[in-house]
Every structure is written in structure tokens, then in C-alpha cells.
């Protein structure tokens, strides 16, 4: 075997061997329907809500939340028990390192977080944001609360980017709720 062939063989062989040993990663944990029932167990129906933001409303939300990510105006539902409004469920996406992290937030009629669920997580690291103890920190948060890592939300070491972006996402949804959804 020529030297160049030995070099090229060594170049290709290690990744090929490693690739065969890798597990698949992409996981959808909850569908929208499953998230609705997990966060609003008492609800017996969900009505989609369609909203159109004025420029001023959009600017207010962006300013209050400090993020630029697209607002989820077409993935909002009213959670109802018969005709009683229990709150809103919003499905949102925030940046992961390479993919989007999809999560759902339940916000009650008074604008307080009931809970959040991670629906789809495709990153290699940082999946600890799915842990119930971390998500529980959001319960009761309102628009206007800091929602900052290491301030009122504890960070998870090794999952900092995911923690930061989900926290910012919830802050953004609370601002959206406060500006557009409260009372609807």
C-alpha cells in the first residue's frame, strides 16, 4: 500500500467506525394534544385563538422580553372547562444550539404560569431542561418578573444555553399574554 493510501485510509476509517456506534437522538416527547392535557388536566376543550399584533403591541412584547425570536401568534389555544376559561396554552420555539427547542407554556387567566413542558428537544447536550424540578421554577411567574438565569431561575450547569433560551421564551410569552391575551 502506498503512503498516500495509508493516509487516506486512516482519514476515513475512524469516523466511519464511530458513526456506526452512535445512537439516534431526535426525540419528540409530547404532541400538542398531549401537552394540552398535561398542563390543563381539568379542561374538556381547547379553542384555537388567532391574534394579529399591531406594530405597537409587537414592539411592546419585544421590549418587555428582550428577545427577537418570532412570536407564536398561530399556536395559541384557550383551555376551557365547559364555558369557564382556565387559561391559555401557547406552543413556542426557542433557539437551541443548532435546532429549535419546542415547548408549551400554560398561563392562567390572571397571567401566572401554570407550568411548562418541553415537547421536542433535538440538541446533543442540555436536555436537563426537561427535568420537572427545573421546570417547576416557572410556576406562578408573572409578566414583569425578572425571569433571568441565576436571579429567579436557577441555571443547570452543562445546559446553560437551553436554560437561558427557554427562560427568555417564557418571559416573552408572559409579555405576549399580558399585551394581547389577558381577558380573551
Amino acid at each position: 500500500m502506498r503512503d498516500i493510501d495509508r493516509a487516506l485510509l486512516l482519514l476515513v476509517a475512524p469516523p466511519a467506525l464511530v458513526l456506526t456506534a452512535l445512537p439516534a437522538r431526535s426525540v419528540e416527547y409530547l404532541s400538542t394534544q398531549q401537552a394540552q392535557h398535561a398542563l390543563f388536566a381539568e379542561a374538556n376543550r381547547f379553542e384555537p385563538v388567532s391574534i394579529a399584533l399591531t406594530d405597537l403591541q409587537r414592539e411592546t412584547v419585544v421590549k418587555a422580553s428582550g428577545t427577537r425570536t418570532k412570536l407564536p401568534v398561530d399556536r395559541i389555544w384557550r383551555a376551557l372547562r365547559d364555558d369557564q376559561l382556565l387559561g391559555h396554552l401557547i406552543v413556542d420555539e426557542v433557539y437551541g444550539k443548532h435546532e429549535f427547542i419546542t415547548y408549551a407554556a400554560a398561563i392562567d387567566a390572571n397571567g401566572a404560569v401554570i407550568g411548562i413542558e418541553i415537547m421536542d428537544y433535538r440538541e446533543t447536550h442540555g436536555g436537563q431542561v426537561r427535568e420537572a424540578s427545573w421546570r417547576e421554577q416557572f410556576r406562578g411567574k408573572h409578566s414583569g418578573d425578572a425571569l433571568e438565569l441565576d436571579e429567579d431561575i436557577v441555571n443547570i450547569s452543562g445546559a446553560t444555553m437551553s436554560c437561558k433560551h427557554v427562560t427568555e421564551g417564557v418571559r416573552r410569552l408572559l409579555a405576549l399574554h399580558d399585551v394581547v391575551l389577558k381577558g380573551r
Binding site: D3, L19, L22, H98, T124, L149, S157
Partner: protein, 287 residues
């Protein structure tokens, strides 16, 4: 003739790697030469495969491949360690100096540690320090056998913008080397001082596109001699793509300036110590 075949093989392989990269996955290595400040989470493993192609001395035919396999482990969430195994291939024909050669061999080994002091996600900027002692038995430029011991230190900075979608990094890397060529008795000292930087933007899910710069210099005889003996500056594009199970990063760096100049090779580039063009492809596999 043989080096022409070698170069064709290298081109073909790089093309195949680029195609293969169309199904690749990404972590923090957005650049081929510059490092970000993040470390692997505690208990995580990552395997990297590196290939760097260096070509053209402005005379004859010069091609070199630097191959590297790296295994990296997160000891804590802020502290990681790596082991590198390196091989080197030279196909040199008609360059004059270095002499003709068609040779592949085990080049050496390094270990490294990296500690992240500041996070680019929580702090004003990210900051990490890195140390890499190593041994090399094949000269980078000529392919001659040697005994060389080195210690490289890196100060790494990272600043993220626009919801962490725009990433800027800066690495400052002094490396002290002591070595002797095979058959020689005299050990020589050298300082290699490198500064790299990069800027990249997430243009679409899975895709980052940007550019990278690299300044490399040598100080022969350091610390007794402190005058810079050679330098080169490179600028080129960097692309990072992430797929389901692995990732790939490619940086292409043409030399845009350097000195001293060998007039028969280039009036503006240093083609004695450095090459006209470098291409690095890194693939990573997370466990």
C-alpha cells in the same frame, strides 16, 4: 508524477468528505482553527476527526496532510481533557527546500486541558484557558524526522450577539517548542505565537456561515533571541453544519500576507515556512 496522483487523491477525498458532510451534526466547533469557550458537560464524551491539507510553496509541488484523532471528556461542567493522536503525510516534488519526499507516518501525541471561567451565555463574554503539552516526531514543513517537545497555552474569548446566533471568538496562543532534527545533536528552541479569530452567523437551522483569520509567527532561538523570524496571515470562509448524529466544520485559509519573502516564490507571501493555502475539515461525534 507521483505527487500529482497524490494531489488528485487528496482533492477527491476532500470532495467526498464535503459531500458526506451533507449529513453532518454540530456542537461548539464553529471554526476550524479557533476554539469557543464552552466545555463538554460532565461525563460527556466527544470524538473528533481532523484533517488539514496544506499546499503550494510557489515552486514544484508541495502537499501535506495533517491527520488528528481526538477524544474529549467532560470532567466537570467547566473542565475537560483531551487526548490527540496525530499522523502526517508529505508529498513534495521539485520544491528544492524542503527536499523531495513521499512519506506517511505517526507524527505525535498531545494531551490538553481546558477550563471555562466565564460563560458566553451568562456573563459579559466567555473566557477559557487551555494548555496542551505534546511530542512530535515529524517536522511540519519538511517531513524530516525529529524529536520535538512543546507546550501550547491558549487564552480563549467568545462573545455572542443576536440571541446567541452571531458568534465571535478570539484565541491567543503562545507555544514554546524545543527540538532537534534526526542526526543532529543540537537542541533548538522556538516560540510559535498564533492569534486566530472568527465570526459566524446561524443562517438557517443547522447551518453557520462566517469567516476566520489566522496570524502565525515564529521566534527562532527564543528566549535568547526575541526577534520575529517569520510570519504569515490567513483569511478565509468557515462553514459549520450539524446533522442528526455528527457535525462537520470546514475552514479554507489562503495566505494573504507574510514575511520574509523568497523572491522566487512570492513577493508578498512567506512560502518558506508556510504554505499558500490550507483547508481544515473537522468532524465531531457526540456520545
Amino acid at each position: 508524477m507521483r505527487t500529482r496522483e497524490s494531489r488528485a487523491s487528496i482533492w477527491a477525498l476532500l470532495f467526498l468528505l464535503a459531500l458526506g458532510a451533507a449529513s453532518a451534526r454540530a456542537d461548539e466547533n464553529y471554526f476550524g482553527y479557533s476554539y469557543g469557550t464552552e466545555t463538554l458537560p460532565k461525563g460527556s464524551w466527544e470524538f473528533y476527526n481532523w484533517v488539514t491539507w496544506r499546499t503550494s510553496k510557489g515552486e514544484g509541488s508541495y502537499n501535506a496532510l495533517d491527520l488528528r484523532q481526538e477524544i474529549e471528556y467532560g470532567i466537570t461542567d467547566r473542565f475537560q481533557a483531551s487526548l490527540y493522536l496525530n499522523e502526517r503525510y508529505h508529498a513534495i516534488d521539485g520544491v528544492g527546500a524542503p527536499a523531495d519526499r513521499d512519506q506517511f507516518g505517526f507524527q505525535g501525541v498531545q494531551v490538553s486541558t481546558k477550563y471555562a471561567f466565564l460563560s458566553p451565555y451568562k456573563d459579559l463574554f466567555g473566557f477559557a484557558l487551555y494548555a496542551e503539552p505534546g511530542y512530535s516526531r515529524i517536522s511540519k514543513g519538511s517531513g524530516r524526522l525529529q524529536d520535538q517537545w512543546s507546550m501550547e497555552v491558549k487564552a480563549m474569548f467568545q462573545k455572542n450577539f443576536l440571541d446567541d446566533q452571531l458568534i465571535a471568538v478570539l484565541n491567543i496562543s503562545p507555544e514554546f517548542e524545543v527540538g532537534k532534527k534526526k542526526g543532529e545533536r543540537h537542541w533548538e528552541n522556538e516560540l510559535a505565537f498564533e492569534v486566530t479569530s472568527g465570526l459566524t452567523y446561524r443562517v438557517a437551522p443547522k447551518w453557520y456561515v462566517g469567516f476566520e483569520t489566522r496570524y502565525d509567527s515564529t521566534y527562532e532561538g527564543f528566549p535568547a533571541e526575541t526577534d520575529r523570524s517569520a510570519w504569515a496571515f490567513y483569511v478565509g470562509p468557515a462553514v459549520h453544519y450539524d446533522a442528526e448524529r455528527w457535525w462537520v466544520t470546514m475552514t479554507a485559509l489562503p495566505q494573504v500576507g507574510g514575511a520574509p519573502n523568497n523572491g522566487t516564490r512570492s513577493a508578498a507571501l512567506n512560502l518558506d515556512e508556510y504554505e499558500k493555502f490550507e483547508l481544515r475539515i473537522k468532524t465531531g461525534f457526540d456520545f
